[in-house]
Amino acid sequence: MAAEKKAPPGPLEYLRRWPLQAWIFAVLAFLYLPLIILMAFSFNTSRRNIVWEGFTFKWYEKALSNDSLIQAFVNSLTIAFICTILSVILGALAAVLLWRFRFPGKTPLEGAMALPIVVPEICMGVAMLVFFARVFPWPTGMPWPLNLGAITIAHVSFSFPFVATVVRARLASFNRELEEAAKDLGAGEWRTFMDVLVPHMQPGLVAGALLAFTLSLDDFVITFFTAGPDTITFPVKVYSMLRFSVTPEVNAASTILIVVTVALTAIGLQMQGLQGEKKP
């Protein structure tokens, strides 16, 4: 009968115990319930976000006809897009530099690169405010999208270290003989970089790009300090709308933003997956 003694529970079987189930439920609830409520109430006829009265698209119509909201939305996407491209290029080059070369001041540079990740955002924001007000005033009254320059520069400066970190981690697994093989077969420095190093870095580049995009898109603090009256981004706009009242219009706009970011992330991951599986 000893053989029939109850086997100790396997790792997944612990999930059958109620404390763990409750824990998981709580985690999922606090993670997703607010989002679901936000989305649900964007379809609510009532102006108040408390009681459900009926289904409607009117808040979406209202949000889409709110020119300043649309402008903020477009601004945010534009900034995020430019910021992503610049961050990926800068971050990848910084990663290659730190990985490949030994030079005086390398360690301080590595430390300095990590600073934007560690320094509190509020400090970065104030620093950017002072910098763009005193040291490097971005000319006002520039045509769109050049008027977004200050914000974009600020965004790049805090998101490219994230890209560099991700890409550098990826580079650690690179076999230097691949590079030598390419050169041995007749490739110059540039071709070697494009044909061998970039394909290897690619998963890191995609991950870094997604990171930079979302970091830029939803940044509030630093943007708040660098934005001018004509360069409002979506998070700043939502904040200013909330100061008057919480209307379902904000819910609708937020829902659109969520859908856009989730879709972009999905596309990014899908592209990465396709690259990885490009085999017959």
């Binding site: 076999n175 003989e177 691949l178 030598e180 093989a181 390419a182 050169k183 041995d184 077969l185 007749g186 490739a187 110059g188 071709r191 044909d195 061998v196 394909p199 290897h200 085999k279 017959p280």
Partner: protein
Amino acid sequence: MKEAPPETVDMAPVHTHADKPGVAVKPNAIIQFEGVTKRFGKVVAVDNVNLQVQEGEFFALLGPSGCGKTTLLRMLAGFDTPTEGRILIDGKDIAHLPPNKRPVNMVFQSYAVFPHMSVEDNVAYGLKMDRVPEAERKTRAAEALELVKLGGFGARMPDQLSGGQRQRVALARALVKRPRVLLLDEPLSALDAKLRDQMRSELTQLQEKVGIITFMMVTHDQDEALATATRCAVMNRGVLAQVATPADLYEFPNSRFVADFIGSVNLFEGVLTVDEPDHAVVQAPEIDGQVYLDHGVTGAKGAAVWLALRPEKIEMHKRPEGVAALKMEDAPEGANVIAGVIKDIVYLGSEDYVRSGDRGRTPHQDVPLQSHALRPRRLYVG
């Protein structure tokens, strides 16, 4: 126990690859190292190497790890530049050319097959860099794959190949450019034992097939070098110890290092007592006697020398009861005899080693002696 002098080939010689059929060795030097020295900081990796490799040779650079053989190869490929000296290929100094401008191609130790390209794209990569038209690229890549017995594998991705197949891809990729010299960096070290033997013979066959391409291989595995190469250079601490055919390396090592490094060997210290052009005698206290050699030694009389005795050149005979041990003086002409007692026999599969505790000068000191003499000499021919 009867001891034949090292040179007497009374048992089947092990390596006779000095003159392989099919490999045309032309007497013009394709690679020349002239006083090449490479220093990494204070470390001298390669020290004043002078070496000539002839066209069509299969040349092996052999040595223990850290002896500078890989550095020498990398200088030929262009990944390192010599601190001093010149490297010539076809009479042109290439020491400071970048790797992509040299008429050499390399098979890397890790194969370095590009993981994100198909087999065909890998092989055709070098041709693409040379701006060969696409149609020609395709046919030449297919030919090269056929050559390494990977025909039909062109569409595969490298992670769908085994280690041996990936190595073939690396070989095809290097050969497709028809280089003057093919460099092989420890090409067989990452394969398992059985595959290694197979690839070893395929490498020599491959060289016969491609004809005019000179092969230069780096290895720390002496069997590999002796079995594949037409000529070997043994390196030690950045210096060329000996450059010779495999048979000469084995039979006539020029230093204790080479004798010890190539094959297994019994080494005894001795003093040169007779040194004539046609024979020499060494007094070796460890084996308690004088050893007759049927060749002269370039050394002063009375010089301390090392006596190298190959295990397979030892014969063992039982001493009949009541008969006194043969003295060295009683030995038949040209043979050396010492008395000893077998203390231990180690069975090692294909090579049995007898560790006989030779009677040393002092009664309690045993001198280990490796020999194959107890191997049953039977041949099974099926």
